[in-house]
């Protein structure tokens, strides 16, 4: 019988802390599982031990477990077996194959918070080193679908779009979704927020309308107006992915089979029949070469076949930002302008039409080879713009919004070219860093306008970039980061003949 010592800290799982002496008496160690039992409640928690935080005879119980124990003052504690998942994770380490049941058990334990961070990290690390085979990846995907909410549409086809990411300014979903929905297809698009970028599609859309919906609400909106642009993190769709992302971020790794499964689980769970995957290829993206892109495309299409989902992949140019803006408000303004006028940067227009066109063909509303032209018609006719306004209204936003209404940070500074010449180097990563220092994505009005891209001509004194921010101080920091002469800081845009510095790295041009 142990006296409960409450630790009111949420840590995402059932966890308790015993004095080391008590743990020894029970014959258990930190990382073991214990069953906590009191009148009317019983749960299994992960044990930690301490010599100082709780006295002998006490048990420290963290918020999540406390709630389950409903104010009990004393509890009984017994050793409990570790989750079976741990031995299956060991199998991955040993490069042995897993059965469908074993994979489902791991995913279930992840979703139910039954694994400690140490164990989750081991799963991610082992999965990174030893890829699953195609059959295991299918099982993993199915398990991720089954352990979350699902949407079943009565009307088909349902189409969807995913981007592998890695290119800044990639606001194309704001064109693709309304074009496709305007053509009569259903497209229940869930998007992410930026983790290391300057703005995810969900961060952008949030300027126009709420983006946090349940799976049921996503279904309803999609059935109502044909499309939705929601934040995936607010749903319970393929929730295992959300649990894994935190550790993957900590370790800066993205296990291949897990990535395939995460992409396709989200699409499978919303009932997609056909999916187009945007794969930006180029230095600095996740796919350095076209070879890498082809290999990933093959694996995604194979996985789609196994799940009964048609997949097409589009390798896109990832060397420069899409369009000429980076940062939520700037990107929304650029996308709205394109929908309102049909005009705007060619890279944005062409990419949006190409991806929408593929979906129109896959969804059977355009003949093979006709998709791009149909998408162009829909954009030019204003129907795509009208459709986005319907989606905005259905999500609870203002359907009268105009591109000119979008507020941009009023602290702005132009970065001028110090010489006349051509842009001979353009570093996407640096553009994102500068936008983030200016405040993006949490300051939605912060970002970077790009006046010159790779290969374009510029005269001395003409602007290369405009940096925008809501805060004078953050603008100053971004300017400093953009222009400082420091060996660790790459100048974002290099103009031929402009000698900004004499460090060795200039030889890389």
């Amino acid at each position: 019988m142990f006296e409960v010592h409450p630790f009111d800290i949420e840590i995402g799982q059932y966890k308790v802390m015993l004095n080391l002496a008590d743990a020894r008496e029970l014959g258990i160690n930190a990382g073991d599982r214990v069953r906590i039992r009191t009148k009317g409640a019983s749960l299994v928690a992960i044990l930690d031990t301490t010599t100082a935080m709780v006295a002998k005879g006490q048990v420290g119980i963290f918020t999540e477990a406390l709630k389950e124990l409903k104010g009990a003052m004393t509890v009984d504690i017994f050793p409990a077996p570790k989750p079976q998942s741990i031995s299956y994770i060991k199998r991955i380490m040993d490069n042995e194959r897993l059965s469908e049941d074993q994979i489902r058990t791991i995913v279930r334990d992840i979703v139910d918070n039954n694994l400690s961070e140490v164990e989750l990290s081991a799963y991610i690390t082992a999965s990174y080193i030893h890829k699953m085979d195609a059959q295991e990846t299918e099982w993993l995907t199915r398990a991720m679908i089954e352990t979350g909410d699902r949407i079943y549409f009565d009307t088909h086809p349902v189409v969807d779009k995913h981007s592998i990411g890695g290119v800044p300014g990639n606001k194309v979903s704001l064109l693709v979704v309304p074009i496709v929905a305007a053509a009569g297809l259903l497209i229940p698009k869930t998007s992410s927020r930026a983790i290391t970028g300057a703005g995810g599609t969900a961060d952008l859309m949030e300027i126009l309308a709420p983006v946090e919906f349940t799976a049921d609400e996503i279904k309803e909106i999609t059935e109502d107006v044909g499309g939705v642009i929601a934040w995936g993190g607010a749903t319970n769709i393929a929730p295992a992915d959300d649990k894994l992302i935190k550790q993957e971020y900590s370790l800066s790794i993205d296990p291949y089979s897990q990535m395939l499964a995460s992409i396709m689980a989200k699409k499978g769970a919303v009932g997609a029949d056909a999916v187009v995957v945007d794969m930006p290829v180029g230095p600095g993206t996740k796919l350095e070469t076209q070879e890498d892109g082809r290999s990933l495309a093959k694996d995604l299409m194979d996985l789609g076949d196994r799940l009964g989902i048609k997949v097409e992949c589009a390798m896109t140019f990832g060397g420069s930002p899409v369009g000429r803006t980076v940062g939520p408000a700037l990107e929304i303004r650029e996308a709205l302008t394109m929908l309102e006028t049909g005009q705007g940067p060619n890279s944005l227009r062409e990419k949006g039409l190409a991806l929408a066109g593929i979906l129109l063909e896959m969804g059977g509303v355009a003949g093979r080879g006709e998709g791009h032209r149909r998408a162009e018609e829909i954009l030019a006719s204003g129907r795509a713009h009208k459709k986005l306004m319907e989606i905005i209204e259905a999500q609870g936003g203002d359907p009268a919004v105009k591109s000119a209404d979008i507020q941009i940070g009023d602290h702005q500074e132009q970065i001028l070219s110090p010489s006349t010449g051509y842009v001979v180097a353009f570093y996407n990563k640096r553009i994102v860093e500068i936008a983030r220092i200016a405040g993006a994505p949490s300051d939605k009005k912060a970002g970077v306008i790009i006046h010159r891209k790779m290969g374009e001509m510029v005269k001395k004194g003409e602007p290369l970039l405009t940096i925008c921010s809501s805060s004078d101080w953050e603008l100053e920091c971004a300017i400093k980061d953009c222009t400082m002469r420091d060996i660790k800081r790459q100048v974002p845009i290099v103009v031929e003949g402009m000698l900004l510095e004499r460090y060795p790295r200039m030889t890389e041009i």
Copy 2:
């Protein structure tokens, strides 16, 4: 400027918690590092995020970091880079070789608590999958030595003994240390406590004398009486190992290169010139086959050569317990009896003399092939017994202690053979489980006396085991575990012809 919200919980490292909204504004995520600065103090901590536990504008700070901030009410928070170790751990995942500097950086970060549990787990998992090569393992060992306390003896040779473990009742250090010290060699032995066993050497010795000493005290005692039997966990010798063991236990893995380095770092740090390694081989031990044993022996000897430490390995029989007792007090009584009378189980006597003999030869006080005989003389002469009493006194225990003084749990029960025949199966693991259920190692008086070992004859009604405990209830549990008819519970000793059950597993005999 953030308001400090104290979380008075020790978690083993500098950790802080921000509201998710604040973290987004700072452009950082859970797992990132932040610099916390206040008047007169500055530290780098690992970030976690929350939507509920701390409000916007507040920062939750855990005990370890709180102490450094000396009561500050407000702090500034800035993003800080992740430790470089993380990119080196990624190299291990990618099966790339590390430099000496990179390995040293990882070990330093482990010792300084600069890595989160997630990152430590990734290091252990990656090291388990991708072994280091011999050069890297040498660097790892040297880094583990350099990041802790070291002992430099003026007199040489210094010898030491290590057991790979995995066999119950392995109390041989209690013979080896006094025999070797009585022959004039220095042997500063640090030992472990049981984690999953029924008693480590440190748990045993603690019955006779205190075992918690600093490196300086270990040096002093060893110089004074020739030997010591201390608990390694109380020292700061090769402290990286202590940090890793917790996660290794959680994951039930023991990365090979890390195991080699941990063994040799502890020996290198105490200045050993020569080391004998006891390698129990057999089913249920860590070394299933002699092939495994030979391969480990070669790697340990190679690593010793690189470090300038002579290593010899002794493959020993690991199929049955050493001696006939398992559990701290029972084992101490058995070892003391052997020292007092020279008499006792042959397995204990022979193993102790063999290992001591090897060290006498390695230390140059016995000719090649003469060690065993010399060890036997020292034991028979009573000099080993006298030496252990000196060591006990030097460690602060009672040098007049007799084997007959050692208290055994007075709740005892004999487990009788249900038939006449030979012991045809003997499960070490089950003996340890029963001893632990009876209370060992925290109840030092608990354990198991083994009356019949593999191959021995027994008549119906004669005792197979005696279970001892300080607690009636724990004795009952141990008896139940020993005798219950349950498919999950292997009978510990199987006598030919004794039909205890009809489950399929009987066919394994």
